[in-house]
């Protein structure tokens, strides 16, 4: 019985840790894309995403 409970607890801890690591990685993926679209300082990136930056109220020029 003790073994069964501890294995359940171990599984839950592993699952929680795994979910957090994966959601953090997905969060980072989203932030990198948003930086590229909304903040990248290169002139080419600015000109390509110009109307999107204005429409989404990102600081522009």
């Amino acid at each position: 019985m003790t073994t069964r409970v501890s294995s359940h607890q171990a599984l839950q801890v592993t699952t929680t840790t795994s979910v957090m690591a994966q959601t953090c990685a997905a969060l980072l993926f989203g932030l990198i894309i948003l930086f590229a679209v909304g903040f990248a300082p290169m002139g080419v990136a600015h000109n390509a995403a110009h109307d999107a930056r204005h429409s989404l109220a990102f600081p522009c020029h």
Partner: protein
């Protein structure tokens, strides 16, 4: 695997929401941007000495490639909108999985709308209170200062709303502190008026265009964020909630 599911789902949602945003943008916002650019071009063609003293010139971007007017410009706007929507969706789905998955319940229509409204409040309203949406030609503080304050406003309000929604009752007041931090710090401003043109009638036209832009962009962003929240709700209920149930040892 939650990570790959979030990435694939966010790309699909990004395509749908990006298409919606591009349509609204072309119909309501792009005509105002193009009209403001016309006056901006006139201003940069004025002889030296008539130029604005603030940080408003577009010249730094004129040295680089830019999409041609018409279809090409719309195509790049669509691409940028799809990428931005994909980024927003990835962040929202990551947070939904972090905070809603442990509850092992479907997200209701109301909760989905609240997620959308939270996105609107965090990524549009919070920065727009200090730095209203701008049209080309507006005089404003240096770009780096505005970007830094924008990031502070978004991060701080996101934490504040997160505390309100998910933290224990006894620390919910802490959320209020995070909501006001960006406005206590204060957004970067300039002393000169936002629009200053040699011809006062042009200045008035730009002020009117800006007023229209603020109202329409608020409506466009509200529709966009509500759609994004409801799309993420649909995807979460269909492809993610089951992961919590299948990983639950009590069910085995």
């Amino acid at each position: 695997m939650i990570f790959s599911r979030i990435i694939y789902s966010s790309i699909v949602i990004g395509l749908v929401a990006g298409m919606l945003l591009t349509s609204l943008q072309i119909a309501g916002l792009k005509p105002i941007i193009v009209e403001a650019e016309r006056f901006e071009t006139l201003a940069t063609e004025m002889p030296a000495g008539h130029e604005n003293s603030g940080h408003s010139d577009h010249a730094h971007a004129d040295d680089f490639w830019a999409p041609a007017q018409g279809l090409e410009r719309n195509a790049y706007s669509f691409l940028a909108n799809v990428l931005a929507s994909t980024g927003f969706a990835a962040i929202m789905l990551a947070l939904m999985n972090q905070f809603q998955l442990p509850r092992k319940a479907n997200i209701s229509w109301g909760q989905g709308s609240l997620w959308g409204l939270a996105g609107f409040a965090t990524l549009f309203l919070a920065p727009a209170i200090g730095l209203p949406p701008e049209i080309p030609g507006a005089v404003s503080a240096p770009l780096e200062h505005r970007q830094l304050w924008w990031a502070l406003a978004v991060l701080s309000v996101a934490i504040g709303l997160g505390i309100f929604a998910f933290a224990a009752v006894r620390i919910k007041t802490l959320g209020l502190l995070f909501l006001v931090i960006p406005y206590i710090v204060g957004s970067p401003q300039v002393d000169t008026p936002m629009f200053q043109h040699a011809d006062p009638s042009v200045t008035q036209v730009l002020i009117n265009l800006h007023r229209q832009f603020v109202i329409i962009s608020t409506v466009v962003n509200l529709i966009f964020w509500l759609s994004l929240g409801l799309c993420c709700r649909f995807v979460f209920n269909r492809w993610f909630r089951g992961l919590a149930l299948s990983a639950d040892p009590d069910r085995s």
